[in-house]
Symmetry: D2
Subunit: 457 residues, 4 copies
């Protein structure tokens, strides 16, 4: 009953707001005439100050629209300048902060702490909240953070601004506000197009490939959406329902495979999970998504027992090459060098006997890489491993030549890994991993990994 949705977004064609902005941004004249301090329509700092002024209290939405328009038209240099201004000019009022510190030190109490917390809040946080009043405000704020992230490498001093973006986004993209949606072949094309654009693990090669991943009855896809970013998934996961523990993504994505009846599936294989919004980096989404999808699949398909990933090992290839190149490395056994020497040309086309030799050489190294090669903080070097182990999964099985795509061969000589989510052990695994970096793994894998001391990177 479409008639029941007379719900119009508050920004549908707001005519006189539109005129105001136009008059403002088009001709750069003073805002609303009566103002004593004329503001150039492209002066981002001036607009930001106005948003935080008394006028912003009553005309926040209009001013936010004006700011967004100006930001969209700003050059890269103007945006970069504005980011620095955010750091320097839109921190807290230091006089008030010092007074709050003094009051706290004089008498530490819940009240003085509350005041201290408030006084320490940078003014840019309130600025961001008011920018969000505008149409597409959330979207633009996420983009602004992307722009900031582009600068952080060269200008790490801007980090505190990034902290404020993160603080806000953590609150706004709280799991309670995310909507899980099933994505399939009857999903609007503009959303599906986003999948093609954002797929990060196994490239989607156009619409026919996408159809093969969404339309068959034994395939599922789910994404998190946010009410304010309706047509933009935040993150999505692609799932294959199977009756076995899948070892090869090539087989999963084969063109001519016969789909199975999903009711007979015993195993859900999460073969790709992709973030869509770089501006939300660091905001926890994937963790929640996997658990929710496990939950929903189990409800709908009670026969499902195994929830595993089929994951890339993105750092394995580079690590292996580095190892063999390092002249003085003590770890580099002769076999390691030998193995890498073999991995040349079209080696997957070698005969079965030779492939078997390679397999026997590669698997222990893969296990070693995943289980023993760590960063200084004790976490694995491999980023995908960090993600799933941090979520409470365990390392389950290595798959030789699981991904023969050029990307897969380059990243990890085709090696893939299954992580497994055992419902009863997720918490225990997570806790052990978080406390002391303990990695849950199948005994066979642990045995395979060379019992050397951990390598630290």
């Amino acid at each position: 009953m479409s008639r029941r949705e007379p719900v119009f977004g508050w920004w549908d064609a707001p005519p006189f707001i539109g005129e105001l902005i136009q008059s403002l941004s088009g001709r750069g004249k003073a805002l609303f005439g009566f103002s004593s301090q004329p503001v150039q329509s492209r002066d981002l700092t001036g607009l930001a100050e106005m948003i935080l002024s008394r006028r912003g209290e009553v005309s926040g939405a209009i001013l936010a629209e004006a700011f967004l328009e100006a930001y969209r038209q700003a050059s890269v240099v103007e945006r970069e300048t504005f980011m620095r201004t955010l750091l320097e000019r839109f921190g807290p009022d230091q006089g008030i902060l010092d007074a709050a510190v003094a009051a706290y030190q004089a008498e530490p109490s819940a009240k003085t702490i509350a005041r201290l917390h408030e006084a320490a809040e940078p003014r840019r946080q309130e600025l961001f909240r008011r920018i969000n009043f505008a149409r597409r405000g959330t979207t633009t704020l996420v983009e602004m953070r992307e722009h900031l992230m582009d600068m952080l490498g060269k200008e790490p001093a801007l980090q505190p601004v990034d902290v404020d973006f993160c603080h806000l986004f953590s609150s706004w993209f709280n799991r309670g506000f995310l909507m899980l949606r099933s994505i399939d072949w009857s999903t609007p094309a503009n959303i599906l197009e986003a999948l093609i654009r954002y797929e990060a693990v196994h490239d989607i090669d156009g619409w026919d490939d996408l159809r093969r991943r969404l339309a068959p009855p034994d395939r599922r896809c789910f994404g998190f959406f946010h009410p304010q970013l309706e047509d933009e998934p935040l993150i999505f996961v692609e799932v294959a329902l199977t009756d076995h523990l899948a070892s090869s993504v090539d087989a999963l994505l084969a063109r001519d495979r016969e789909p199975m009846d999903p009711k007979d599936a015993t195993t859900a294989v999460f073969y790709s999970i992709s973030n869509c919004q770089r501006g939300l980096t660091g905001i926890s989404l994937g963790n929640f998504l996997i658990k929710q999808v496990v939950n929903d699949l189990k409800r709908d398909l009670p026969k499902l027992e195994n929830f595993v990933t089929l994951s890339p090992i993105p750092g394995f290839g580079a690590w292996l090459r580095d190892e063999t190149r390092a002249e003085d490395s003590e770890e580099v056994a002769a076999e390691k060098k030998l193995l890498v020497a073999r991995l040349e040309g079209d080696w997957p086309l070698l005969d079965e006997r030779e492939l078997d030799a390679i397999r026997r050489g590669m698997l222990p190294l893969g296990a070693h890489y995943l289980l023993n090669v760590r960063r200084k903080n004790g976490r694995p070097v491999d980023p995908v491993a960090r993600f799933h182990l941090g979520n409470g999964a365990q390392v389950d099985r290595l798959n030789f030549l699981g991904d023969r795509s050029p990307k897969g061969m380059r990243q990890s000589y085709g090696l893939m890994v299954n992580y497994r989510y055992r419902l009863g052990e997720i918490e225990k695994n997570h806790e052990a991993y978080a406390e002391n970096g303990h990695i849950a793994a199948m005994p066979a894998l642990r045995k395979l990994a060379q019992p050397v001391s951990q390598e630290v990177y």
Copy 2:
């Protein structure tokens, strides 16, 4: 195409989560078996600590569900105890805070300020954010604040907890996340029922009365909704479209009136605006609602020129009675006493001559009350006046016997007032009011008000 909305809320029947919670809350045994510190299912503090623990990182949603269940079953005393615990135990870690203060004082910088801000954040804020992971989490948090507000009168020391609720709600109920919806006779009954329950200004006397306010073509109603509180309006406003400046709510709500063609309307009368969520007290909503509705009405009905309220003056009656009782009041002129003496019994039934005398006595006092009677901070004593003047409206006209309902007669001897929103002057009015308490008013009204110095209450 309903099939296209296979969007299932993430909490639809999550079976194994349900079991976990049941096992937890039903039998009070330790959570998930492997725990070394058993938690009673009704121990709110224990659950809250667990939510903030390492386990909460991975099982936040489950623990949040358990907490909500426990909170729902808790007695008033248990809840009150928990509120005090929130104050005492869930502030920031004071050691970390002191270190952050020291670091800031040693070297004030954006970085040390960021750390200080983070260190000063009470742990209960993160607790609230994680509680929000659960189904109906937002709703329950709003209710929790209601419970806290019930305690604040007796225990003002709990104020810092309220500050944290406010901080969070200001961010979550940001205008950018609110959805304006038109409410009419084809709106679901459960939402309409909420209108009947929450109408604060002119009671809705059952469904037939509601129908008279929603169904006619010259009536409108709009509300703000939040994605997480879908069936609960946050605030709503009732509007009558007319061809004149309405002076009497009795006429607006008359049973037998003939509706007009909305396309001919020149005036939109906002005759009632009601907040629905006590737990959102202090979160700015009405300001945005009125402006958005003005915007949308103007777009759809270009002939509309006047946007006025027809508002009660809730404090006028009590003020007048107090005045006449105060023995030593210098302000109390003989006429004032005379007027009040007349306002006895069924005085509205007096003949026109006598009514006219009362009118001539009452209007100047009403104007005086609205324009001159102030609080210590220079704001008007009347709360409705504070709301509309703070939004940038002006006092437009007084209406003698505009509301003859028992409530209207008791509150203000039937006197009502129109505030007017002049699009071009809203900002100026707001600014002048905010800066120095200047009240925008029609000259006639200002003349009517006795030119005495302001009364301060």
Copy 3:
């Protein structure tokens, strides 16, 4: 995602059509100027002919709008005249029909039969189909049939027009085009209002009563809707989920009852089924509705085993009174007279002993009435019995004082009956009933009914 419903009804504000109709209906001038035969805008017959003309082929929708407008403004007398015109002037072309008959008789074949069938179709059928091109055409055609039905009593000769309405509606309201919808407390108020208006069995006493029937978790309501009559249910059924075979509608509708968990329900009681559109009289809907609801309930609540009605016996009271009045009736036993004599005043307030005597007298008569009292065609006199028995239900149990409402006491001295839908026997029951009027009944009931020969009415 509301944006995905850009589906606008084709009649949303069609501006130039609007102008045309206005020019036509407002001033009665000729249609479109170039016409040589001017048509008065209120001349129903003229408009109908024009719809069937060449012009109607290309401008059918516009002309249909004009016709509907004229029909709405027509007086009762004008409408009645038009109905007679439909009979007399809008039958088939008799010359063509006679030729088709001749051709058929000369050479009976599929081809000549097809031509005969086409030739025998009254022109009003095509007229009705073209009227349906207009906005709200279907609704108005249903209303037109209502108007016709009002005339049929006095003018039975109009029957053939009614046959054509029926023929069309049978095709358009084919079960395949009906949508079953669950109706509950979150259904739009305008649809719920229709329930209050149309409830035919147990009056709904306002919104609070309606809420008691829809909102509790152990209540259900379902209706059939048609795409073209979106806000108008065609028929609806109210269901109570219970753990016993309900014997009293008063208990089912009690204000203070405690709802049960629907998952524990064993029995679905269909306590009211109401048609909403008098203009669809004779179109089979209830039969499909009951079966579909049984189907859906069983799917959602697997514990449900019994599907019974709690039905009125509308003709019982009148029959009983007639019986006792009939001087020469041989059937009228002394006890019958005695019973009726007792049913005076507030007899339900008599003491239990006396009530028991009445019960023992009434039940056999009720059983006799339902099972043995028939029309000439062998079907039961009681209309509700005819409906459920025709659907394949069986008579299950009589309920003494099941309905103490004034209507229930008047109709049947409070007696009610359960019909039971046994899934495995519906077909057999229907077939036996349809073939030879055999009524399926519980043995106890059959025994109770006096073994007299059938009474025929």
Copy 4:
């Protein structure tokens, strides 16, 4: 508010119906056990008879499901046999028909006509209506007609069965039941896929091409949908908004063109209109679609003044070639032969002077072909011309080399034509065309056409 659509289709997972059908179709045993005449599950005729039997009255939906299942599994031969059975066995009951004829002849009256009409209705019509009770019944009936149409060429005697399909579909796909929907880039992919599949005029070359036709702001697409065929458009039209009368489809579909602001468009070009359901051949849809789209576009974009097509002339090439080949044709002027002789190889690449000569030769022949070359019944030979002229359009302009695609070159040597819909003249044009085959055309075109007598084909 998706929650408000708890509307479940009545066929969602109807478990016990499913079992029944399975037991029936899986093992071919008798239906429901108690039957005395066992029916093989794949015996289409037996199932059809059962649907029309007494049992069908009460179990129509179940039996219809069984029939559809059997039909889907039937071989082509079995289906063909069944079509013949429909003709031979499912006509009317001839005894009853003869009686009705006799009664009519004895006393012609509305009543005897009604009975005659009813008696002449083939039993297959009721059969089709009851098949429609089943899930996807409408879809399958449309497919059944497709299968029948495949036979008609060889077995024209089956025509009367086709008449019955048409009769039903005309009623069911009545314009009043069709829903106009805007189709754009946010439409579900499965519907967009149908566009690619069904586009009949200018092939859509994959998803990128489709995106170019739907996503730009100056493009529109509309389709008719039917409630029972939700994901299947019945017909759709593609529209380009322009500021000039488009003469070349290549320019309209160019990859690199710059879209214009739709608000500035003066002209809507209907450059493709495609039927999607072969089984609905002969049911009037396109006529209504074009008019509705004109209506809606004019409402939304008031500046639009011209509504034209850019249409192929599918028969022109073949006609021209036939002409030149016909030895004895008197019409074949030397220039004609000359022209065709030039149209060899890559002639569009000739220099401008030569092209101009071809243009001057081709345009008069094109005009002649469209205006003068007729069928025996006086209608143009060209099918697209028949469609638009029958709708009341006029021939507006010929476009030399308007379509350089291989198909366009083959069909009509690239020649295209604009038909124009003048709102004020549609009726007049239609009427003149319908009455006596008069073709509305621009004077320039008429002059261009050789003033020969009409050619009849």
